[in-house]
Symmetry: C2
Subunit: 596 residues, 2 copies
């Protein structure tokens, strides 16, 4: 879906019209004739008073602010999850005293201090789930005293609270007046995948990440919990999986941990979407149940064999064996317990990277193949024995694109009912999104060419002679990183996830997720790998990557992202710097060409 400016129409004497960007799938359009709201002229929000992601509409005709009253408070209806958010934001707003890197050129008015933010919610009952209304409007009148935040749902209100918090700066705290914000996301699904199997992350790391997500208006924490390297989730019905398959007793997520994370997500407007990857990526299951895992604990790429004959695409072998009935006893217990632990209505089943060599190494499967069966039939057996159960638990299944698009092992679309199945892209760039949506499936976009945060740090394999070179560029393309080069914030920002799709196809794109796979990541680098690059995606999916004229806005976004990065750091997120501080202080001077 391309963001399209709505057609210019005349305001016929009602004042200057501004363009409001709306996704083409949007059911409504807004024309704002400014004189209806404010006299004139429009002054865009100063970069120094910065909201990230940039709201869809900000009107602030005069750069005037007032002080926040020392007794400032927030009035809102009571709600199980909103009330903790209110309390958190109130504390933040009262104590943050953010100092922008570039001092705002704003006049402090003589009007009264702002005393109250009043929050109105239209529907207090809407649960946090895909597609919930996240829109809000925020208005602070010129005379101050009271500001109003109006939202359809508590989840939209949380978004508005974040925006309000970012509008406050300085000591004593100041806040713009004569300001109106209307805001809503372009895409409903805006997430981060974190792999907690290859390396383990503590609960506090996950909570900190969710908190940073909410500050960036992201709403899906896709938790890639288990993989071949470790199985860190204590599943009550199958406790041996974690007892034997985790990295150790201090590296297990217990049900109480999951409950804490889910609750924290709800208090931050962030869904926690669990992934239990299967039937591939399950080597760790063999620690508890060797009998249900093919090719477990083998060297991943047998000496002398070709790449197509590998047993896994990276070290850590093992695929669940779909022809062993016991497999289903175990995985159904897992699915059941995960559906119990996670209220989220999406369940991610994985189904990526079925490696023929692994299944072929199993005698039962070998026998099936010898009798004319195919590997795709083996996978179909697995899907057909698990997907109906997932659906029966009122879950929508998410799978990686491979299940439909792999060139060797895939299932017939008839096994994947469109109303219950969503496919997530990762390989082949936008081509996959096209194929998935052409086939009528909903898509979540995580193209490795743009959204893989781990890429570009070279290979992690040991004994790799490509790195024994005495001249530059001796190693293979992109420094040995299959998905290199490193994805810069600009690469991420500029990616249009509906590029090349028809309007109907674009409607099937739910949104996107960046992914942090953990071969070369763990808590030491969690914040800096994710932030602020993920902020770039957050803005692109929330309000787009184009300005009012339809031009990509990466140039002007640079200073704003710099400011936002420093604010995240001051809030305890160790986001990496994108430029020398000098650049922020000298706007435009660090551009590659001398123009915006």
């Amino acid at each position: 879906m391309k963001n399209k400016a709505i057609e210019m129409r005349s305001c016929e004497g009602k004042g200057k019209m501004i363009q409001v960007f709306l996704p083409s799938i949007s059911k409504f359009a807004i024309i704002v004739c400014l004189s209806l709201v404010f006299p004139s002229p429009i002054v865009s929000l100063q970069s120094a008073i910065n909201v990230w992601p940039k709201p869809r509409l900000i009107l602030w005709p005069k750069p005037v602010a007032t002080f926040l009253s020392p007794s400032f408070t927030i009035n809102s209806p009571h709600h199980q999850y909103l009330t903790p958010a209110i309390n958190r934001y109130l504390r933040l707003i009262q104590t943050e005293h953010h100092h922008p890197l570039v001092s705002p050129s704003v006049n402090i008015s003589n009007s009264s201090a702002l005393e109250i933010l009043t929050v109105n919610i239209i529907d207090l009952t809407a649960p946090l789930q895909h597609g919930v209304n996240e829109s809000y409007s925020l208005s602070i009148s010129e005379v101050g005293v009271t500001a109003y935040l109006t939202a359809t749902t508590v989840w939209g209100a949380m978004m508005g609270l974040e925006t309000f918090s970012q509008l406050v700066w300085g000591d004593p705290s100041s806040v713009p007046v004569g300001l109106y914000v209307w805001d809503a996301p372009l895409f409903a699904h805006r997430g981060i995948l974190l792999d907690t199997s290859r390396n383990y992350y503590g609960v506090e790391d996950i909570l900190r990440t969710i908190e940073a997500m909410s500050a960036n208006k992201l709403n899906v924490f896709h938790w890639h919990i288990a993989d071949s390297q470790s199985f860190p989730l204590m599943v009550p019905s199958e406790p041996e999986l974690a007892a034997k398959g985790s990295y150790g007793p201090d590296m297990i997520y217990f049900p109480s941990d999951v409950a804490r994370i889910v609750q924290f997500g709800l208090e931050h407007g962030v869904r926690v979407l669990p992934e239990i990857d299967s039937p591939g990526h399950t080597g760790s299951w063999a620690e508890a149940y060797p009998e249900i895992v093919a090719c477990a604990n083998m060297f991943w790429w047998p000496a002398g064999s070709q790449w197509p004959d590998r047993l896994a695409s990276e070290p850590g072998t093992g695929h669940l064996n779909p022809l062993n009935p016991k497999t289903y006893k175990v995985i159904k217990n897992v699915i059941h317990d995960v559906a119990t632990l996670f209220p989220e209505t999406f369940y991610h089943g994985g189904a990526d990277e079925i490696v023929p060599g692994c299944w072929k190494a199993d005698p039962t499967i070998q026998s099936f193949l010898s009798n004319g069966g195919t590997l795709s039939q083996v996978l179909e057996t697995f899907i057909n024995s698990t997907l109906p159960y997932i659906i029966s638990l009122n879950r929508t299944a998410v799978y990686w694109e491979d299940v439909l698009l792999d060139d060797k092992v895939k299932v017939d679309p008839s096994f994947l009912p469109r109303e219950h199945t969503i496919l997530q892209t990762w390989i082949h760039g936008t081509n996959s999104t096209k194929k998935i949506t052409e086939a009528g499936y909903r898509a979540i976009v995580s193209s490795s060419d743009f959204y893989y945060l781990d890429c570009g740090h070279g290979g992690f394999l040991g004994n790799d002679s490509q790195y024994d070179q005495q001249t530059a560029g001796g190693n293979s393309g992109n420094g040995g990183s299959w998905c290199g080069p490193f994805k810069t914030w600009q690469t991420i920002y500029n990616y249009d996830i509906t590029n090349g799709l028809s309007e109907d196809e674009a409607k099937l794109v739910l949104g996107g997720e960046v992914a942090l796979w953990s071969e070369q990541a763990d808590p030491t680098v969690l914040d800096s790998r994710i932030w602020p690059r993920t902020s770039a995606m957050a803005e692109a999916l929330w309000s787009g990557n184009r300005d009012e004229s339809g031009k990509k806005r990466y140039a002007e976004a640079t200073d704003r992202l710099n400011e936002w990065r420093y604010r995240m750091v001051s809030r305890g997120i160790k986001a990496e710097p994108i430029q020398p501080l000098w650049c922020v202080r000298n706007p435009g001077m660090c551009n590659i060409v001398n123009s915006f």
Copy 2:
């Protein structure tokens, strides 16, 4: 210099001989006939009891350990800098209780607990300077009770203390017995460059880095203090430079900070080598003295101009004007004060990246050129007006290679006396090292192809349309990073800094330095950008990157580096992970080929 195994000779009945690697420049050779020291056989140190960098010689015939006595202490002569190190290591050894990732298969003997480490120093007066003897030997007899650390200098003793600390593990603490270590570096200069101008680092960040350096047996903290972006050093004779050129009053290194850093370095065996880059990279000086800086505060790459006509190689313009007499008043004050603040006998003068367009923008220089002068003469004027002064302060000058090798602006070798000048490489890979040493100069190797830690993270410039692509690989080679790809630890480990040199040329190579330039780095990523990749260089320069047979040892180094990385993390250094934890637990299984 290539590490060469000394020629195999017979031990003639004295037991099995081991090869000891020595640099070809070494004045001595060691033949160890094992039966003279220990019965037999040699058992290489278990990876789980791991010393990084690997010592040159470890003999530990039987994998036996004893407990460390709860009253364990260290006896040593008193010394201004050694005594604090002793106290620090005693506390570390008593409290660390390191748990290796893979449990050591070591027998705990029935011998007495180890009570004392006795430190003997031959020469207590040797100052910490280039080429000081850093060798040590450590022996822990089979019966325990007392261990002996012998070193020529206190600086060697500090290296031995680090080794001893890494030999201790577990709770209660255990330590190998029947162990002998002899150790000394292959290269005398083993450093890290940190750029504190483009982004600022707090004193604590620098101290933490120096502490981690000493744990890796690195001995030179090359402090690239000032550059065009900021001038953070408070120079007593020229206080305006920092007052106006720093990023702010809270981002200045005062003389008391420098004294603290220098003292900390001395207590850790780490020299603090200051660099005041000039005459290029001096835009920040113009905040205080605009009259001595050419082309300051201009857009770095004028619109429509070609690359050769740029004013700087990256944003932040400004070169000192060598034709203005006031330039020398200011810079001599700076040189004088820096030589006072830093006891280090090397003074780094920079002299890299003279950009013709910048000097040409100055009317005085333009006039000089119009009268037949050359830019190289302008640089010669500068060098000839500052280098003799540096030498007069008993300093050896270090310059970047450009001053001799730049293809446009360089000085005649007659201006650079070989006995007082060292050249540091960064561009053109090993070719530069060859040219420098062929010309008879000593060299420090910092090839950007191998040792630049910041590379591979894409460009930092704003408004860069190369990142507005909807297909993979759309941007230019290596993801827009001029020095990409990212330098993996294996790339760094395998680099032979004397590759292609004759034996005589190799003798002129003092050592190497990794560099962390700070366009995209600041305290949030300091540890993870530097560690553990710099540990890879640390071992290569200390004991080499080859095993006893002369084969590159990167395969077996993988698990050892993993272990060391986790130990650094437990010591408070947020080194990035190089593999999933699974790989360390399953040795060899994460190799690209199934063999060591």
